[in-house]
Symmetry: C2
Subunit: 190 residues, 2 copies
Amino acid sequence: MVSAILPLMADTHGPAEPSLEEQIAAYQREFQGLDPQVERVVSALSRLNRRMNVAYGRQTAELGISNAEWEVLKALVLAGEPYRLGPGDLARRLGLTPAAMTHRIDRMVAEGLVTRERDESNRVRVIVGITEEGRAKWLEGLRMATVFEEELLQDLSGDERAQLGAMLTRLLRRVEEAQPDAGGRLTDLD
Amino acid sequence: MVSAILPLMADTHGPAEPSLEEQIAAYQREFQGLDPQVERVVSALSRLNRRMNVAYGRQTAELGISNAEWEVLKALVLAGEPYRLGPGDLARRLGLTPAAMTHRIDRMVAEGLVTRERDESNRVRVIVGITEEGRAKWLEGLRMATVFEEELLQDLSGDERAQLGAMLTRLLRRVEEAQPDAGGRLTDLD
DNA sequence: GCTTCGAAGTTTAGGTCTGAAGTCTTCAAG
DNA sequence: CTTGAAGACTTCAGACCTAAACTTCGAAGC
């Protein structure tokens, strides 16, 4: 395993990334007819996600795993009893190719996070299960994530959280209709 | 350049990714004491972002470039006159390492999207500029993106869009305070 | 003026992903 | 029973990234 996921990048001085408002102003300047309202929503979504992934990456790094590995553990736990899935299933759920799944499982078996066995009733199939250690790391990662998430939302009242959740769900439904094929590389955690 | 960015993944039948509501229910089952309200917001954010990147990837693929390359073009345009930046600046703005920036610029120069010259007044520095073709592809990509984004938000009224933008901005401000060091690998577009 | 330090880019080694080409097993049809 | 086709996983080649070593130029101190 390779220690950290985070490009520290806290490099030097010099122009950093423009702020959201600066970016919107620049867009207005370079492309007339862009709706700032829409741009703000889309850009904020994207930036928020990036920051969240940085936060998750720091947390999983503390556990000695990567975001990608935590994702696999999550999929296994959320699958429910008996906490086992085939590589193909996992690949579909995580949105990556079977080839990538094979490699990822290789690493995770070597680290003792999951097990890999052949299905005796159908010897083409492979079954991936979670180990005690894997389950423990999943849980600890989740605990850290909830602390972060609570802090993230702390300025929003209960009503606001509900409204935000409802609006995001509506947007999600709309894209899912437009993109019925699942997909998308999953760099993210949820 | 490598054609497409999109794992088509529209593979076969078989269990796909669980729906958002299924996932929240599974979380409740496996981890008592998780706030579903928070979970919905966070998971919806993450899924939305993934879908958006898939959409952007399809659009940039139509232009024969990658999301990553479009990001570079965007940074150059948003920098404003004279539309030139050094590799270091670009790397900071895009949130990647200088080494990655060197390679990316190599490819983009070969494709005629940007130019690379030495700064004559300080021969350590390199200056990257955008070509006509690069600018045209940026613009066309932006046009496609705005169509998609307008469609994405079409169910929301003007008021709702404003509310959503305001709430997301508040969340963003909070994470930015907590993570003053810029950073984060940029897989995303905004 | 030389020397040394620091900043900017590039190069190199190694890791993880995609896409395409295998390999092996099962199942259904002849 | 045999054979062909489909499915599940793995292997291989290539793309793009990070981290770290290296190269070069410019600026400050003696």
